[in-house]
Each structure stands twice: as structure tokens, then as C-alpha cells.
Symmetry: C2
Subunit: 304 residues, 2 copies
DNA sequence: TCAATAGTGTCTATTAGACAGTATACC
DNA sequence: GGTATACTGTCTAATAGACACTATTGA
């Protein structure tokens, strides 16, 4: 940015203006990042020839200090004055997972006034997708414990209602998070009101068992985004190892979308995104499956 | 949030902890909102029987003080300590356009360290779509002038390049903004690097003529989002008056997407989103066109 | 009558869903 | 041989692109 020689109403040039500018003259909110770190894991096989099932997992930290001490929350922390928001997110990611070569994207910024009892906190959420193989988790510094929670997302109620000059849609989503013996859950209400031309979506936490702050809302949002992007981008491959079978890939889609897919159609759709390898699975108790890898020449449409 | 009777490492309960918590102990960034307020206007008709052309317009404010005094920038301002980020956006919108019943959505939060020479500023951008009819613009308080700028978006170069273990895509976008005799322009470079599983998109401003701060980048991002959402949601109707013809609607699509559409396919696709009225255009110099209105029963897929 | 737009019909290509049918390992 | 998965073929339905064709007005 070039310096500006114009003088403002007080007769100051840009550099004079900046010299007298006092940033401490009003109260500022704090800014944090919240990380939604997802991965997919294999569960135990029920029997030697069955495929192992996949589970979508989310990393949570047990809060070791106030506020919401003892509850589980998204990893995250304050954005430092001299780092960008993205750098803060990468730093948190590294602190929690010990890796930094991962896919990460910004989700949404949560700006309500009373999100945190300490002070006014605006939080910018990021979603990271990591492949289980490259992972070696450790608890963050201010956390008693960290855990990968299995994620379940269920729409328990859906309503549509005509109102004056528009429509109101309501959806109740139950989110269940489980890790060893710990089970957390939340009920999030999504309301979409359309009145005339105004359309507004609001999220409200009706119940939050063991999940700190307003993080249930953020988790709900992230799962929706993940599901949507799964369908029109190639982000899945961030959850996969270097080589994978198409059945595994399909399982990952199914566990994230929460519904079964037809193999034939799935393979057709996925075909241009992957390339064959010469390797096959072994000792499966059934027909071996070919390994594929991501085809980087695949052209995704521009995102977002 | 319930108070917590647990004691932390210092032996404090939650309420004791909050009492001794000092939020002023470290330096904080400022948070602002930047508003991308779009509308579509009719240009003069070239001849009595031609249709008038549509133009996509964006509201910009001429900066009346440092920094970037004299340049044009997105309307916006600081988020106050006791208002939510969304409230701040609505407030700015009201200050600029004098209306508050409009469509608005959060776009992205820009968190680089040196975005603003005054101090560290994190900016949360919002897009608002308004219909020209309900509009009566006035300049904001700290602005010398406000103007609706015609928006042109042109991809001037596109490159794909194989790199070790991945792909690099580069796109140069030229944005031109014009209002009366003022013409602003910017060249934004978009780089998408895909190395192994890591995928990153970065935006860089190569040239910015008359556009303040890093706003050219934000404008580029907003236009991309607007284009994408046009295709899979019903946001167009926020840019339309209560009643409109399908040709007008198609024109709006065309001017935003920057390419012509085939009428037959367009009508088929749009059909379930609109409902007929009994009114027709008059004195057009050609066959009259039926007016339609938005059908609020149309079910958009869940957004984002 | 004709310029200019409004609106429809239909052929084709592509894609998603459904499901049957074949292939192949390992116990 | 039987089980469980891998993978293909094909019918159908839905949708998008292309383009020709008909309809309707005001000057």
C-alpha cells in the first residue's frame, strides 16, 4: 500500500494520521479459532471375511480449566496479535495432531455476544480432514485429555409450515459423540424462515450434554458442510490413505452421508477422480479388491 | 450455561475463576465487518422494442479519511463490544441502504496480519442482495460519497501445471468496477496448489486501481460465491422485484454468470421455483411476457 | 408487414438409480 | 461348496443442451 499525501479533515497526511491513531481507545472482542478435526477409522471386523466398518471421528478436548471445566470441547485457542487467523488455526492443528500437511478450510465465524463467560469472544471455525494413517494424536497443553469421538448425526424431526407471505422450516438434529465409555449428545434446532424475500437460517442448541460452550452448533454446521462438499468436490481423498479400494471409499462416503449408496452408480461417478494401481487386497476371505489412488489431474470445479 | 462447582488447578470454582479473569492481559485484534451489497439494475433501452439490459452493481464508499483516503472501499465498520457480528453487519447495511429486510449471508473472515495500517484488523465479510426497487441509498457517515458500481468479472488467464506429486492451477481474474466517470479495476491471482493430499487456495492482489485495502480480493471471492450459489439455491429472487418475467430472470442469471443461457432449458429448470401470475407486460413492441412470482413452497436443498 | 421477443416441442447426449448377474478369493 | 465381497451390464428415468418452430405484439 502506497502512502497517501492527501490531507484529511484534521489536516493530516496518512502517515501523520497513523502516528496519532490510538487503537486502544475502545474495547475489543477476543478472537479465537475452533478446530473441527475429522478423520475416519476402521472398527474391528466382526468375522474374518466381513469388511471392517468405518466410523467418522471428531477430535475433542476435555477442558482442564474453567470455563466449562470437565466438559468436552473443540480444540482451539486465541489468535495471537502477530499471527494471521489461518496461522493460528494451523498452529492449533499442529499442537493437537502433530502434523501440518493436512487439508484445512475455514467454515464460519461465530459472533454472538455471550458465547464465552470470560469475555466477548468471536470464534472462527476451521475444518481439517486427516487420514488416520498419518496420525499420532496428543492432548493439547491446556487439556486434561483428548479423544476421537465417533460422530452420529440424526435428523429427528422435520417440519414445514406456511406462514404469512412465506414458509418456515424447522429441523431437529441429534448429534451423538462417543469415545470409549464417554457419551456426549446434543439437540440442535435449525430454523429457516422465509418471509417475503428475507430468508434466514438460525441454529439453536436445545440441549447439550457434556459438550462445552456453543460447540454443538458448530459441530452440526461442520457436518452439514462436510456432507455437502463431499458431493461436489474431492475432499474425501483427504480422509483416505495413499491407496484405497473403491469399497473403502464408498464406505467413507456412506458413513459421512449417513445413507447407503449403490455400488454401480458410485463407481461410475468416482471413476474419473481415481486411477488404478496394480495392487490388490489379500487374505480377505473373498474376491480381492483393486487398490486405487487419487488422480490429481481430476478437475474439480472451483470451490465454494 | 450452568455454573460449575469443580475446582481448577488453582483451587478456584468457575465463578471465582471468572471474577479473577483479566481479559486485558494481552493485545487483541480489532474486528470489522465488510459488506458486499449487490443489486441488479436496468440500463437504458437502446430502442423502443429492445429489452433493457441488466447490470450487476456493487455498493462502494469513497473513503473520506485515512487510511486509503480517496479510494473506494466496501462499506463496513468496527464490531462493537456489545453487538454480535451479525448485528454489526445489519447495522452497517441499514446505515448504507436504509433498509433492513434483505437477504444477507456471511462469506468469509479475512485474517491476515497487515490488512490495515492502523492496527491489526480481522474482517468478517457479508454479502447482501437487495432488489433495486426497495432501495434508496445514502452515503454512510464517514464517507464522502457512495456509488453503485457496475461489476465486470473476467478470467484473463488460466494455467494448469503438473508439479511433483500434484498439480498447480493458476487463474488471473480482472475485476472492473464502473460508476459514472469513475473506473476502478483490479487483477487478482488465484492459486490452487495440490501436493499429495494437501490442497490450498490462495488469493493475491496483483494490481488494485482505486480499490482500497485488500477489498479487491474480497470482491472476487464474493462474486465467485454469488455465481456458485446462483446455480444451486434460490438466492436470485432476492435480487428480483415481487413480480418479474422469466426473460428478466434469465437476464439476471446471465449477467451474474457472465454467459448466455438457452431459454428452453432455463425455463424448465426455473419452472418449479416460480408460479404464474395473470399479469403480462404491456407496450413492449413485441409479444407480451407473463409475470411470475417466487414460489415459497419450492424446497431448496439445505444450504452450504 | 416486420422487428423483437415469448414461449413450446422434440431430438439427443449424459447421468443417476435400480438391480440382476458374473467373478473370485479363502475357509 | 459356501460366504462375502468385487465388479460389470443393462434397462429406465430424469435432466441438460441444442435448435427449430410457433405465437404475439406495436409501430
Amino acid at each position: 500500500m502506497k502512502q497517501n499525501e492527501l490531507k484529511n479533515q484534521d489536516g493530516l497526511t496518512e502517515s501523520e494520521f497513523l502516528q496519532q491513531y490510538d487503537p486502544s481507545s475502545y474495547q475489543r472482542p477476543s478472537v479465537t479459532v475452533d478446530m473441527l478435526i475429522f478423520t475416519v477409522t476402521d472398527e474391528e471386523r466382526a468375522n474374518y471375511r466381513k469388511l471392517s466398518e468405518k466410523t467418522l471421528k471428531l477430535l475433542l478436548i476435555k477442558r482442564g480449566d474453567h470455563p466449562d471445566m470437565g466438559q468436552w470441547a473443540l480444540p482451539g485457542g486465541f489468535v495471537r496479535f502477530k499471527e494471521s487467523v489461518e496461522e493460528a488455526a494451523l498452529r492449533e492443528l499442529r499442537e493437537e495432531t502433530n502434523i501440518d500437511q493436512v487439508y484445512m478450510e475455514q467454515l464460519y465465524t461465530w459472533g454472538d455476544v455471550n458465547r464465552d463467560p470470560r469475555t466477548r469472544v468471536i470464534s472462527c471455525s476451521y475444518m481439517a480432514l486427516v487420514d488416520r494413517g498419518s496420525l499420532n494424536v496428543q492432548a493439547g497443553d491446556d487439556a486434561v485429555d483428548a479423544g476421537w469421538f465417533g460422530v452420529e448425526y440424526e435428523v429427528v424431526q422435520e417440519q414445514r409450515q406456511l406462514i404469512a407471505d412465506g414458509l418456515r422450516r424447522e429441523k431437529l438434529v441429534k448429534i451423538t459423540l462417543s469415545h470409549e465409555t464417554v457419551q456426549l449428545s446434543a439437540l440442535v434446532k435449525l430454523v429457516e424462515i422465509r418471509e417475503g424475500r428475507v430468508c434466514k437460517v438460525e441454529r439453536e442448541i436445545l440441549e447439550s450434554r457434556g459438550i462445552g460452550f456453543d460447540h454443538a452448533k458448530i459441530i452440526e454446521y461442520a457436518i452439514e458442510r462436510l456432507r455437502n462438499k463431499l458431493e461436489y468436490t474431492d475432499i474425501v481423498f483427504n480422509l483416505m490413505p495413499e491407496a484405497f479400494t473403491l469399497s473403502e471409499l464408498q464406505q467413507v462416503y456412506e458413513v459421512i452421508l449417513g445413507r447407503p449408496l449403490l455400488a454401480a452408480a458410485f463407481r461410475r461417478k468416482i471413476a474419473p477422480m481415481v486411477e488404478e494401481t496394480k495392487r490388490f487386497t489379500k487374505n480377505a476371505g473373498h474376491r480381492p479388491s483393486r487398490f486405487y489412488r487419487f488422480n490429481p489431474l481430476w478437475l474439480s470445479r472451483e470451490q465454494e
